[in-house]
Symmetry: D3
Subunit: 234 residues, 6 copies
């Protein structure tokens, strides 16, 4: 599917497999990002409004104008348990697309979090609710409800293309998207990576060096690295 | 009153009514901002140095040069119980206008917090004291004390005009100012809004949709919104 | 010593005196920065990945290319108990030079923290470990391992020149460097300042004003400051 | 087509119709952007390295790592007369992906310009050549050639999804993309808009007001706009 | 006058004296800014869309919502020969409030330029027209026309308070505002400064040093400045 | 030499060889930067106040406080024909350290340009004079003259360490520094690079591809690059 045309709400979307989604949630953004070849990472300027959350969910996407969140109300109805709502304004804006009221509505439907390339407000209430949002801005400035957009079309959000039903993984390191039909493969690769890292972590903890574990000394020397003793201080 | 002229300290300022101030403190920035027609919100780049504080107080204002906080000492004397100190440099600067020493002096006078369109330091000590500051920067770089400014004149701070005695409301969502003689009206409007929101929150929590509560379906269709079933994945 | 030439690892560096380092750790960035004449403060854009840490250590420095952390593995071997690793890319980058694996390796060697003018990832894991990192960015985007750099040469990191063995002090206010052979002097000056501040804090707490404690009223008047009574509100 | 998988060069791409492309070049970014419903505008942070160019061409796309332009050499071969090269790093970077040498190679193939969500260098030489580049940064820092990417796959560049063969229009106002199969429709709409604007411009020039031409006075009054005489100055 | 209330258009505003305005236009922003005590300088992030213009005019002000320029049409009617239109959104936005059509309408009324704390488009056409605009952004993204604001009320624009009828001076150095009733005084002070600078410039050109012209050597030595011969290079 | 201590003016500095300096001026920033291994490039945020200048000169350095340019007057006296003045504030600031008056004084001494990690003003006059300045900001806000700094000590300016007498090369691509005693070697390497590039440019112009000239096809295939024909459009 290519770009947005007209204003549509696509219903009955195909979502990534739930067990793959839940598996990805345990692994976190950095591991998943590596496991799929360092692609699909959203702009690091998106930050969580509170620390410590780690979620994965299936994307319900919204494309809408700057400063106007009318379509978010439309999108809520398309959300179901296990989703993450992805809000993608068509132009940069600091306006708050999401606050505690919409979060309450989303939470009631089992939505796991929101990713918005714009503003968020009611940070204290969201923190108390434990409903996680990743946003570019925190701003009390609200949205109007005048102009249409589209729900469940492919969107670019914070620099990445996201299609409805893709997996969105988010934690303190940021947000990464896994294309729907790659979820199982990426999960397998991420788990393998996690296992390798657990072993490495143990060796690091015991004092072993990356230089030795990865046999780097030869290649470093071959490239010309030289060790010299520091001259005694004057 | 128009712009600053000469270097003056205005004494005996008229402050907003205390009960209105205290009422606004309970409602928070986003609600107050909406209640006064989405005006008077300071630049969202001002952030609290720690999370969870929510205060309102009457503004004591300082206009001063970049990197010079001599006039803050003058302003402290003008502060009394229930005030918020508003520090407005005449040009962008990252220098720290406020740290734990001045905060101690302000706290001793009953000041509720500081808003500064510049830097703040001693973040750990301020957090331990529970003395809230909203600033554009955190920086250890201190100020000199060479050049005059003015206290309790109208200032622009982080993009908004603030007069002495106005109400400053600040929390995790940012900072908003309420003109002194509008405090009671804004409080009434904000309380009404809060009540409406409490009712809405309850309905959202029970699963009702904004689309239905706000009768949006008709207007959306009238503007041309179309629902389509997703094609089955290839 | 002037600029970097070729790719070298300097071994056997002279480190600042440990007791001076430990003394500086107690005083914090803002006090140390003042005590050495407001110099050597790193760009305030470097922020801690979690709040509340306050450390000082001797610098092991790494100069390396944007997006490539091969030399960090080389640097780990040069670190010992009480060091802080300083990572200085030669060009701006958001890539993560440090995550929980390298942090584990560094912690195993007694390293007290990392300062990086680039990205950091695994924020949740670092927080759980209590291993502090000050970075310009948080990003899951990892580094490649292709190009050499140098270890324990003088580097500019976030706007300041740092030589191996210098003292790096870091806390919630940012990061400051103390040249190795000035550590004792700066410590003495910082302690003296801390003592003065403790006395001032006590007087502020009891309600005394900075205006009086610092005899500012005369100089302010001499420069032309005028006090005027506010006109009654219309 | 969904996201990038593996490292591929797609050959024999279908390009937008040349006459539509050339028509769009005459109209400019702002008109084209309006004509397709205010969508597909790249981040305004992309700026031309010199003023006054206005081009349109068919996109040859490159997805590649931060700081590595090896794939640009691969992409050059895929370019032909009338193309615009679109360079989309997978992560934010300031590195220069394009300079006067690659520009010479591209110009020799009839390429009309380059859009890069990263850095550009040799600004003086590009200006002398009259070869236009739109970039996020100007930086002398070059790229390495170590890691693969893909050519002629869908990419997100500066916040917009671009597919190979789409039309890229760029001028002093920025960069907009027109999906390949919408080029003719958008051209027609843009021409119609241009004609309307020419008429409006003439009426404005003669002193007519937008208020009257657009019959705004009634709606403004209905919304509550009030005209008041200024009080005489005190 | 304090803050905006309701949506009003204030007519019949008192403008600064024309001859003072024209005098200020010749002197430029930096000189005027100095002449009024380094106050009232707008945020340097406002930049001219083309170089070389230097204008002064009387402010017609507009306060309006982010992304909505309906009120600009209302403001045009309030403009007359010698004015500068000042556009102040209530919240940060990149949307283009002004392009070549509105510029044509303003030029037809004798308006000398526009200052906007938001976006501008049609840069090429504005350059060809020679109609100067100072803006924070260049963006093709247009505004909607849905929500009211106010014309000729006091506004904060790019960090400074501007009242209708004040003098706005703008050139390649930025934008400064001179309060209406201070225009004559500031002009006199600016002319005096200009004369002094002309004399200084002549002496500098002939090789005289600022150190001597300003008798700085004594004060520098008194503060502790020391001259030392460089050690011969090793 | 390590960090700044006390406030000193170092006289009689050793400057890089004039013929090497003049040779570097012809080659430009990007070529010189490559020729010394992609090191010593100042932050790309420093931009020329007008386009088209290309200079090289020997550094006279100034370390001074934010917003205070007293020491620039001291530095002027230390400048001689062929120098470039490097102004390095100790903390971020937008204040203008240089305008047309100081530029006149510097030009009278044969100084070739100024590099300042802060603000610049009088852009129009500097452009008319043809006196080039590279700065981080353009701002009319001037400096005070209250606090000492040092002249001709090592400084970090815009992220790079610069010692007095080093070569500063600056053009539209930015600013790079060449350590004094490497000037001849870097010049030789840069000339060799320039020659190679001239040859490459000619071959590119004639249509030859980088893929072939650099024998990249084999390595690309070995890394796994695959060519596929695009499917016909649906």
């Amino acid at each position: 599917m290519s770009a947005v045309r007209g204003n549509v709400v696509v219903t009955g979307i195909t979502r990534a497999d739930r067990s793959a989604v839940d598996g990805l949630a345990e692994l976190g953004v950095s591991t998943v990002h590596e496991a799929q070849g360092r692609t699909h990472l959203l702009d690091p300027a998106l930050r969580p409004v509170f620390r410590g959350a780690r979620v994965a969910g299936t994307a319900v996407t919204v494309s809408l104008p700057p400063g106007d969140n009318w379509m978010v109300h439309v999108a809520v109805e398309q959300c179901t348990e296990g989703d993450v709502l992805v809000i993608a304004p068509t132009s940069p804006t600091q306006a708050a697309y999401i606050g505690d009221l919409l979060a309450t509505s989303l939470a009631a439907r089992g939505v796991r979090g929101v990713v918005v390339d714009g503003g968020c407000r009611d940070v204290r209430e969201l923190t108390e609710m434990g409903f996680p949002v990743w946003s570019r801005h925190v701003s009390a400035f609200g949205c109007i409800k005048e102009t249409l957009g589209s729900v469940n079309v492919g969107v670019t959000c914070a620099g990445q293309w996201i299609e409805p039903g893709d997996v969105v993984v988010a934690d303190d390191d940021g947000v990464v998207v896994v294309p729907r039909d790659r979820a199982a493969d990426v999960l397998a690769a991420a788990r393998a990576r996690e296992q390798r890292e657990t072993a490495i972590r143990e060796r690091y903890r015991s004092g072993e060096l990356g230089l030795d574990m990865n046999s780097m000394r030869g290649p470093l020397e071959a490239k010309g690295l030289v060790y010299v003793e520091q001259e005694p201080p004057r």
